[in-house]
């Protein structure tokens, strides 16, 4: 037989074509700006926030270049459905970690390549609660946000439609709302969480909220529950800006410059930047001229770039007159509780993220600590499971083999707890240098009393749920998830780095827009909030127009929301929304 039944298979090696998913194709030939051309905006980092910014700004007609340290992924060619083989999705360059409770890097708290962390996130997409924006006024700890939940709510609604988020018709916690795509069927781990919670009388939410398609969406097919979400979804069902926002950004004339490592921001004068210095794939130095620069490098690389850009007038790092750049770094407590069940669980089936409860999210004075935590389904694949069991029970050698043979009987649930922002948790610059010769970041992380109490309580609560669901053995591993903070926003220039639209207090045409501007982190996964903030910043930039480049006066009026800039087809799909 010369050709297979029903015609030839499509070759992934065709020139000028990138296969983003089974049905999604984009051309490789797009706009290319010269270094000498002064573009309107240069965005450093094309990840969760960078992708949204590029799409919005390009669609509004600005000339915009995105510099991305990693490659422009071609999922069909570059990704594998394998845990070990997917390590290149993480930021694996040298980072130095320290403190009493050091964080692990080169894992799920970093991303490299177009799409950034959204390529390998588990795609849990809950909103923050209204109380997250007023932590200091309500609980007397941490700090208040310069914006309120109501400022961000329209953007939450918009982004939930754009990416889109699947979840229940009624989500009862925080500001109750429904989701535009229907819930997913539960896997074994979700069943465990639902069973345990209902037995204890804890409200639980099944099938979301998660940014994975439960029905097809244009040229993106729906989820097929193969389980390789955090290895990069080759189906195209899991949202990443690589497949949601970047293709449209390219259509509207944005340029994504892959393998371009920014190392310094260029200054026109003390109060203005004029471009970004970067190394290309061969290590040659370039300078991209830009009328304004937006840094979207996430919680480690953003402060690193600012600190490395120290210059006369900004001796302690760019935009660091307050000394806050790099401080108030936050990770979320991500303790994993593993339970063995007599029946089969098969964790590898279905997305790891598909059931959760936020019943313990808010402060409860009776518990003896401020703020709270969420409980979520986790569901690691075997290698991650092996690592967890090694830490949890010291499984090794033959014991490890026995544990792994038993993999199908284990279920894992995770705490997602709010660790408060502390000034001593920070990013600094170390003496070591990476392969480009750029000084590497050094991260210090310590847990404080409130955090320890919260972790202890949360751990016990999840164990209770696990026992209630019928587990016969329960163990736990301590770990952390998500990194935010380190360039926080606020209205006081003495205690924050950027204002409520992401503009640095010190430099008029330098913006920061990513997870690092979050003043507090809640117990919700930050992805949706980061993208919503990016859409809001983009709306602000678009309403201000040329004033951003020409005027030093700051107009702080909130911009109108621009729904017409949402990605195509956002409003023609999805279930009727009964609860807004």
């Amino acid at each position: 037989m010369k050709s297979p039944l029903l015609g030839r298979f499509e070759s992934p090696h065709e020139k000028d074509k990138r296969i983003l998913g089974p049905l999604q194709r984009i051309s490789r030939q797009y706009r290319h700006y010269l270094d000498s051309e002064e573009v309107d905006y240069c965005v450093v980092g094309v990840g969760s926030a960078g992708g949204v910014l590029l799409q919005r700004l390009a669609k509004a007609g600005f000339s915009v270049v995105g510099l991305e340290a990693g490659p422009f992924w071609d999922p069909e060619r570059d990704w594998v459905s394998d845990e070990k083989g997917s390590h290149k999705l993480y930021w694996n360059n040298l980072r130095i970690t320290g403190g009493e409770d050091p964080l692990t890097f080169g894992e799920n708290n970093s991303g490299k390549g177009v799409g950034g962390g959204s390529v390998h996130w588990a795609a849990f997409a809950p909103r923050f609660h209204p109380s997250d924006f007023r932590v200091y006024s309500e609980d007397g700890v941490a700090v208040d946000w310069p914006i309120s939940y109501d400022d961000l709510k329209p953007y939450y609604e918009l982004l939930e439609r754009e990416i889109p988020v699947a979840g229940p018709a009624y989500f009862p916690w925080g500001d109750p709302h429904g989701y535009p795509y229907g819930p997913h069927p539960l896997g074994g781990v979700g069943d465990v969480l639902v069973k345990g919670c209902t037995k204890l009388g804890i409200r639980v939410c099944a099938g979301g909220p998660v940014a994975i398609l439960s029905g097809s969406h244009g040229n993106r097919p729906h989820c097929i529950y193969r389980g390789f979400c955090i290895q990069g979804c080759k189906v195209g069902a899991k949202a990443s800006t690589l497949i949601t926002h970047v293709p449209e950004a390219l259509d509207y004339g944005a340029e994504v410059r892959e393998l371009s490592m920014a190392f310094r921001i260029g200054m026109r004068d003390k109060d203005h930047v004029n471009g970004v210095f970067y190394y290309d794939r061969d290590g040659h130095e370039h300078f991209q001229r830009a009328k304004a620069v937006i840094v979207a490098g996430y919680a480690i690389e953003t402060p690193r770039l600012l600190l490395n850009s120290a210059c006369p007038g900004h001796e302690h790092g760019l935009a660091n007159s307050s000394g806050v750049v790099g401080r108030y770094l936050m990770a979320q407590a991500g303790n994993v509780v593993l339970g063995r069940f007599p029946s089969l669980i098969r964790m590898y089936k279905a997305p790891p993220a598909h059931a959760m409860t936020e019943e313990f999210y808010e402060t409860d004075p009776g518990r003896g600590f401020a703020r709270g935590f969420a409980i979520q389904s986790v569901a690691p694949l075997p290698i991650a499971f092996a690592k967890q069991m090694m830490t949890a029970i010291g499984a090794w050698g033959w014991g490890m083999r026995r544990v792994l043979m038993d993999y199908n009987h284990w279920a894992t649930l995770g705490v997602l707890g709010e660790i408060l922002p502390w000034p001593d948790n920070r990013v600094e610059i170390a003496d070591e240098k990476d392969e480009y010769g750029i000084p590497v970041p050094k991260v210090t992380f310590n847990l404080h009393d409130n955090d320890k109490k919260m972790i202890e309580f949360g751990k016990k609560k999840v164990m209770e749920v696990m026992w209630a669901a019928g587990a016969e053995q329960v163990v736990q591993e301590s770990r952390y998830a998500h990194l935010v903070g380190a360039a926080r926003m606020g209205s006081d220039p003495a205690t924050s780095v950027v204002d409520k639209f992401g503009r640095t207090h010190d430099v008029h045409n330098l913006f920061i827009c990513d997870g690092s501007i979050l003043p507090t982190q809640g117990s919700a996964n930050p992805g949706l909030t980061i993208q919503s903030l990016a859409a809001r910043t983009a709306d602000y930039l678009i309403s201000q127009g040329e004033k951003i480049w020409t005027s030093d006066k700051r107009d702080m009026t909130p911009p109108p929301i621009r729904r017409h800039l949402a990605v195509r087809d956002s409003f023609t799909k999805g279930v009727p929304r009964l609860f807004r």
Binding site: P4, L5, L6, P22, L23, P164, A166, P168, A169, P180, Y181, G182, P183, P185, L186, D191, V192, V194, K195, T198, V204, A206, G207, L213, S214, G215, S216, H217, P221, H222, I224, V235, T572, K573, G574, V575, P576
Partner: protein
């Protein structure tokens, strides 16, 4: 007396009511099934809306002959067309799944339920037929109109026709039962019963097209068994929903992802159609 009315084709009101009920039930079914698919295409709203429209029209038809002959006929025809269009979309949905028609078994089982739109269309088909019947209050020879196949509906001479419809419905609904029970790997023995019964019912329906004897003797028996089986299935499906993790506390979610609660009733409806067919008069040709 009921028998006589059926033989004469004087049961427009009753059939309108039945059509209203089955349209309502299939509307509910399609509403949550499409909710599961997140209404990711605007056309997915059309069966939900149309089933409401047909239900309304059929209710009007219960009260008014004019409504039956105009509104019900037109809306039913549109809905029937929608079912056929939906069939096309479901085929396309299967084709768009990874592997498409290269992996037919997997993708038929895991993709959009291929025959569901046609099953949905059957409620409208009943409405369409009802619009040509005579009403209960008509005398035995009153209100006979039309010619050709319309006349046969009018006079209650459409046994072969209805047997053929029942055969198709049994085929679709049996196929649905086959692959959805296969999907849940025949966990309990009762899941086999529709697979055993539907071929028998199918054979009886096809037989009834060719032989009046089968239509009068065999079809009623198999049809009653089919109806009983559908009723039993409904009970099992409700039990399956209640037994899911969370049970009645996460009822909406469990209805969505539990066994399709109304599907056995659609299977029972095949039996009902069989009973009805067996009572009718045969076409003259």
């Amino acid at each position: 007396m009921v028998y006589q009315h059926v033989r004469d084709g004087r049961f427009q009101r009753s059939l309108s009511l039945i059509s209203a009920l089955s349209s309502f039930v299939s509307g509910l079914e399609v509403a949550y099934e499409h909710y599961k698919g997140s209404y990711s295409n605007l056309i997915m709203y059309s069966p939900v809306i149309l089933s409401g429209v047909v239900t309304g029209a059929a209710c009007c038809a219960f009260f008014s002959r004019r409504a039956a002959e105009n509104v019900l006929r037109v809306t039913s025809a549109i809905t029937l067309a929608d079912g056929i269009i939906g069939f096309g979309f479901h085929i396309r949905g299967i084709q768009r799944k990874p592997g498409g028609w290269r992996l037919p078994i997997t993708n038929i089982i895991m993709g959009p339920p291929i025959f569901a739109p046609l099953l949905f269309g059957t409620a409208a088909y009943l409405g369409f037929m009802a619009s040509y019947l005579r009403r209960e209050e008509d005398s035995k020879y009153g209100h006979i109109r039309y010619s050709g196949w319309r006349r046969e509906l009018n006079e209650g001479r459409f046994q072969k026709h209805l047997a053929a419809v029942a055969a198709l419905w049994t085929l679709f609904s049996g196929a649905e039962a086959w692959y959805s029970h296969y999907k849940s790997r025949f966990r309990i023995w009762a899941q086999w019963t529709p697979l055993v019964i539907s071929p028998i019912q199918l054979a009886a329906c096809i037989g009834a097209i060719f032989s009046e004897r089968i239509a009068r003797k065999m079809l009623p028996a198999t049809s009653v068994i089919t109806m009983a089986n559908g009723g039993m299935g409904f009970f099992y499906h409700v039990r399956g929903i209640v037994r899911r993790p969370g049970g009645a506390k996460t009822w909406l979610y469990n209805i969505l992802y539990g066994p399709p609660v109304f599907a056995p009733l659609l299977f029972a409806a095949c039996g009902f159609l069989g009973v009805l067919a067996s009572a009718l008069r045969r076409e003259k040709r």
